[in-house]
């Protein structure tokens, strides 16, 4: 009955929390798992989990990622994420989509439209937020042949926040894909990364 939990430095663990929104069948959970895997590849600590409950093809779903500098012990919901990744712009008019996002929090949206159009259409969700739009569907279709936006969005997210180097994401992808599919995904990562202003969210991410 000795002390079992290793002694912990008494400063609270510093976390970066991300919420990913998508539709059932859009690889929403896979995106969270890949991002956590990328952090793990980089020797960082991470945790990823889906929104618990039945997922139906097409239904709006969300998944969560926590990144940290040391082991994450907590097992509870992410309430105030630092960033949002929205895989389908159609979700913008789902009530409370951006609820809980920290004031400075960045929103990365997969959409073919430009920012003013989106802001006009979903004012309450996006106004006074810093939002980056990425045409991930088109990018993915061009390279993978299918509009699977998750890899492109993760690459753009890491380019914006520089939380992890891109090759961490590439190593994570290498664990899941191989051969031709892997090559195409790696190409997509490089293509998507330079579509967004590198390091724009650096300060926010490392605040």
């Amino acid at each position: 009955m000795e002390q079992t939990l290793t002694a912990r430095a008494l400063h609270p663990v510093r976390l970066t929390e991300i919420r990913i929104h998508g539709r059932g069948g859009q690889g929403n959970v896979v995106a969270a798992y890949i991002l956590a895997q990328a952090a793990f590849e980089q020797g960082r600590f991470a945790q990823a989990f889906p929104s618990f409950g039945p997922e139906r093809r097409g239904a709006p779903v969300s998944s969560y990622v926590r990144l940290a500098d040391r082991a994450i012990q907590r097992h509870c919901q992410v309430r105030n994420p630092d960033f949002l990744i929205i895989q389908s712009q159609g979700l913008l008019h789902v009530a409370g989509l951006t609820a809980g996002l920290k004031p400075q929090g960045g929103i990365l949206i997969n959409s073919a439209r430009d920012l003013p159009e989106l802001e006009a259409e979903a004012a309450d969700a996006l106004e006074s937020r810093n939002v980056i739009v990425l045409g991930a569907d088109a990018l993915a279709t061009g390279i993978l042949g299918k509009p699977l936006p998750n890899t492109a969005l993760l690459a753009a997210f890491l380019a914006l926040t520089e939380l992890l180097p891109l090759n961490a994401l590439e190593k994570a992808l290498a664990r899941r894909f191989k051969g031709e599919t892997l090559e195409r995904n790696l190409a997509l990562v490089r293509a998507a990364a330079c579509e967004v202003p590198a390091g724009l969210w650096r300060e926010v991410a490392h605040a």
Binding site: T4, G53, A71, Q73
Partner: protein, 389 residues
């Protein structure tokens, strides 16, 4: 070696490393990913075992009973309704003293139907005569699963490894997966003394008349009490192999001079551990209850010495009475010279989130003038019509 894995995938790898020969399962959320991972290990030829996809949990438990009785290490897993459906078989496996390991991916009980986490399922079968070990993290789930096979086979008592559904099973995090050599060093090949064997034919499951039934129950009860040492030994021996402890029966963390203790079970412990760092005062001890059965009464008495207040937090309740662990802790402390005041709360039922902020509320409750006999601390009464409040 360290891998980023979903809890269920890690548990499946742990089970595979224990070289089971018969796996049986019936799908039920949130246990499914465990049996799916095992199925693909078998399908890819990485695990030579018989995967029996049965037509119900009642049969899942029956298949592993038959297999274990016949000399093969057997494993199954289930949740909520599945656990209740196999309850008759659970009593039977324990009563026959057949060593089997079952993972319970904890989930709330219907009605009303809920696919989300709480511990009502395993708590409802705490009297079935099984050893019940609860895991606070996915790493513990891996280590406890491996220890469970040795505990079960040495004590000839089935072991239920309880893992919070979704919260742990569906969460991906870094987990150290031991090597086959490490497991083989710790866990000897399966041997069952009363194995069904035409060479030494015996009958298992006889009718017992009133002359002997009480003795059978007594022996079973004693075996469970003696299993405490085996549970501690397994934890110590496994720590020698992999360098990690899982907390034996009960483990305590926190400053010795703390006057407040929080005793709880399962994944919420990680959240409270993080919370202690954000709310350093008043200092409090965390008492992690790992073994629900056999219930570590003396360990609890020892850990509570010096405490003015003990908060017991659980994720189930005995409707019409109150807290389950709370009641058992109070009975354990009965007769202690100056026992702490025991405040008993249930929370997180049916998957309700237990955020960090629950920790300061528990500390505040501990300093209340009157101890709370029992309350569901996160119920929102405005959601009920007047008549039902």
């Amino acid at each position: 070696m360290l891998e980023a894995l979903e809890g269920s995938a890690a548990i499946a790898k742990a089970v595979a490393l224990c070289r089971p020969q018969v796996l049986s399962a019936y799908p039920i959320t949130p246990q499914t990913h465990i049996v799916e991972n095992l199925a693909s290990l078998v399908a890819d030829g990485q695990l030579r075992a018989e995967m029996v996809s049965v037509e119900s949990e009642f049969s899942a438990a029956s298949v592993v009973l038959g297999a274990a009785a016949c000399g093969s290490r057997a494993y199954t897993a289930s949740s909520a309704q599945g656990i209740l459906l196999m309850t008759e078989v659970l009593y039977n496996v324990a009563g026959l003293r057949v060593p089997v390991v079952l993972t319970c991916a904890n989930r709330a009980i219907s009605a009303p139907v809920s696919a989300w986490n709480d511990q009502q399922d395993s708590m409802s079968v705490r009297d079935a005569g099984w050893i019940q070990l609860y895991c606070a993290s996915n790493q513990e789930a891996v280590d406890t699963t491996i220890q469970a096979f040795r505990i079960a086979e040495r004590c000839e008592l089935p072991v239920m490894v309880c893992v919070d559904g979704y919260i742990l099973t569906h969460t991906l995090e870094p987990i150290d997966i031991p090597t086959q050599e490490q497991v083989d060093a710790f866990l000897p090949p399966y041997r069952f003394s009363r194995m069904l064997d035409p060479l030494r034919p015996i009958s298992i499951g006889n009718l017992v008349t009133p002359e002997y039934y009480a003795e059978a129950r007594y022996a079973h009860h004693q075996a469970l009490l003696r299993a405490k040492d085996e549970i501690e030994a397994a934890d110590r021996d496994w720590a020698k192999v992999c360098g990690r402890r899982s907390g034996g029966l009960l483990s305590v963390e926190g400053p010795d001079d703390a006057r407040i203790g929080i005793l709880t079970i399962g994944s919420v412990l990680g959240t409270l551990a993080d919370a202690r760092e954000e709310y350093p005062d008043p200092p409090a001890k965390l008492l992690k209850l790992r073994s629900m059965r056999p219930f570590p009464a003396d360990a609890i008495r020892h850990a509570c010495r010096g405490l003015s207040d003990l908060v017991v937090l659980e994720r189930a309740l005995s409707m019409g009475s109150g807290g389950i662990i709370g009641a058992e802790v109070r009975s354990a402390l009965f007769g202690e010279p100056n026992p702490p005041r025991v405040h008993n709360f249930a929370a997180g039922l049916g998957g309700r989130d237990m955020p960090l902020e629950i920790y300061p509320r528990l500390l505040k409750a501990a300093e209340a003038p009157e101890p709370t006999r029992f309350a569901i601390m996160d119920v929102e009464l405005q959601k009920l019509p007047e008549t039902e409040r």
